[in-house]
Amino acid sequence: MARNFSCPNSELLCILLGGIIYQVPLGFNASNGPLVEYCSSTSPTCGTGIGSGYQGTATTWNWSVTGSAVTIQGSSTSPTVTLHGNAVGTSTVSGTARDTYGCQVGCGGNMTVIDFLPTGNSFFFVGTDAAFTGQYGTNKFAARNGAQNNVAMPAGGTFTGTSSYASDSFSSGTTSGFSTLTVTTNHVSSSTGDRSLTFTYAVSGVSESKPLSVTAKQIAYAKNDSLVNGCTLGYCYDYMITYTPYTHPDGIAVPYGIFVDYPIVTETFSPTQITCNNITGNGSLNTNSQFVDHISYCCNNKPPVCSSTNTQTIKIAGQTIHTNTLTITDKSLTYSSQGPTQ
């Protein structure tokens, strides 16, 4: 027998043949049973129908519950009882079985009702940008209750996770009182929803696990809008180029409104020195999940003559998402996209 279920009678054992369930999700049902009597003695003392090591012939059963966490759903006089998770907490469930020879055994145990729903995005991003794996990262999953308006209940449990891709790692934390797990991966999904994350909430010696099918997305390429010269007041040019980043494996634009912190867009140039003295720097995604690449040579006086050709490499979370060949002169910008485009 598993713990909490005991049989004081040394001759007969109380057995739940279907196994014992110690927890039930709030609002759901779980079955215990069937409950049988079983003789463990070589010298049975009760009735004549029970032999050594044989299952008894119980004919009546009676189940009862103490506490309001679970209620009996349907019959309480059958070998198997169905228990409904009525409220968060623990109830004691007892069952007795009696045979035609007057023998009776009883089993009892605690049944805990857990209210747990792991919540998060239907995806997480490849890489370690703080916008993905930081305090307010997109890759964070929380242990909430089913209504998603409170922590998982009973409170105070532990929240753990596993992934179908073994190298994925989980780091635990707390955000606004919610236990959280942040997933870090370096491996993009092959298809949408192919990554199975299993989250487990354990409390009071019992646990509940729930799987989530999600997609490990990688921001992989970016497409830009057309170039419009915004240097209307002075000499030269000013191009504010807006890029929309796309992800693998689904080939769709990064959804807007998903970031609290925004991924950094790093830009490097080769050669590093731009002859026209352009100051280089990084950007970030914005609230539209796009980013702006500002290439400006806009002056209130006629500038000195200059020219250089540089390769511009744009990355997010270490992944090259776009490259351009730029010829920057004091008079014009020649912009040539080198992809990737898918």
């Binding site: 955000t175 914005n286 702006v292 040579y297 006086n301 000195p304």
Partner: protein, 228 residues
């Protein structure tokens, strides 16, 4: 590489502190007393360090002024490279330290900004960023070029050359045209205002030569609100 502990000791005992003149303003001041778990420069420049420091968990805005070479055609002097690994220092201590190891620079705060500038320009009233704009105002400004040129136009003679010279990053202004008056400001303070209008934790860099001064403005989108 200078040994970090020795350098900090030297800083506090022997050398005068970098200039620190904080003006009260209705903006979030840089978190100078925040203790940074670890700060490194791995074959990086002071500007690299400032970018890393300002984009950490306690972000802040900054303005960085490189020493201007005499003429545009002069070969630019490469920024100095450092190897640094410091633990448990405050942002104030780290700024002091960076101004120590690259002693060409001094730092101060102004409102939300940390400003780092060539120490040699501190008392030079003709240096562009030290010049005074008696009354500084923006009228229906919708982009950084318009703002920068308007600022230059509001300086008393002589007329100053300025340029927005940038490759990479985002310097887009909010869509709503900007109208605001500030009164008397230095050009450095005015450039801080232009940059601040990009959004919190934005930064600017001045580079180039005395005959061709270029600014870059970098907006950092960041909304660290508890919305989880």
């Amino acid at each position: 590489m200078i040994r970090p502990l020795f350098a900090l000791l030297l800083l506090s005992v022997v050398l005068p502190r970098c200039v620190l003149a904080s003006e009260a303003a209705n903006v979030t001041e840089p978190p100078l007393n925040y203790r940074v778990e670890r700060f490194t420069l791995d074959h990086e420049t002071l500007l690299d360090g400032l970018k890393n420091l300002s984009s950490g968990s306690q972000p802040f805005s900054f303005g960085f002024e490189m020493p201007l070479r005499a003429e545009f055609r002069d070969v630019a002097t490469p920024e100095r490279i450092f190897e640094v690994d410091l633990k448990g220092k405050t942002i104030r201590e780290l700024l002091d330290y960076m101004c120590l190891i690259d002693s060409r620079y001094a730092w101060s705060t102004e409102g939300a900004f940390v400003n780092i500038y060539p120490r040699a320009t501190e008392t030079d009233s003709s240096y562009l960023l030290n010049r005074i704009i008696p009354t500084f105002a923006m009228h229906s400004v919708s982009n950084i070029n318009q703002a920068l040129f308007s600022m230059a136009d509001q300086l008393p003679p002589p007329r100053e050359q300025v340029a927005h010279v940038q490759a990479g990053g985002d310097s887009s202004y909010p869509l709503k045209p900007w109208t605001e008056s500030f009164g008397r400001l230095t050009v450095r303070q005015a450039v801080n205002r232009l940059c601040q209008h990009l959004g919190p934790n934005s930064n600017w860099v001045l580079s180039g030569s005395s005959d061709f001064r270029g600014f870059g403005f970098f907006r950092r989108w960041r909304t660290l609100e508890t919305v989880f």
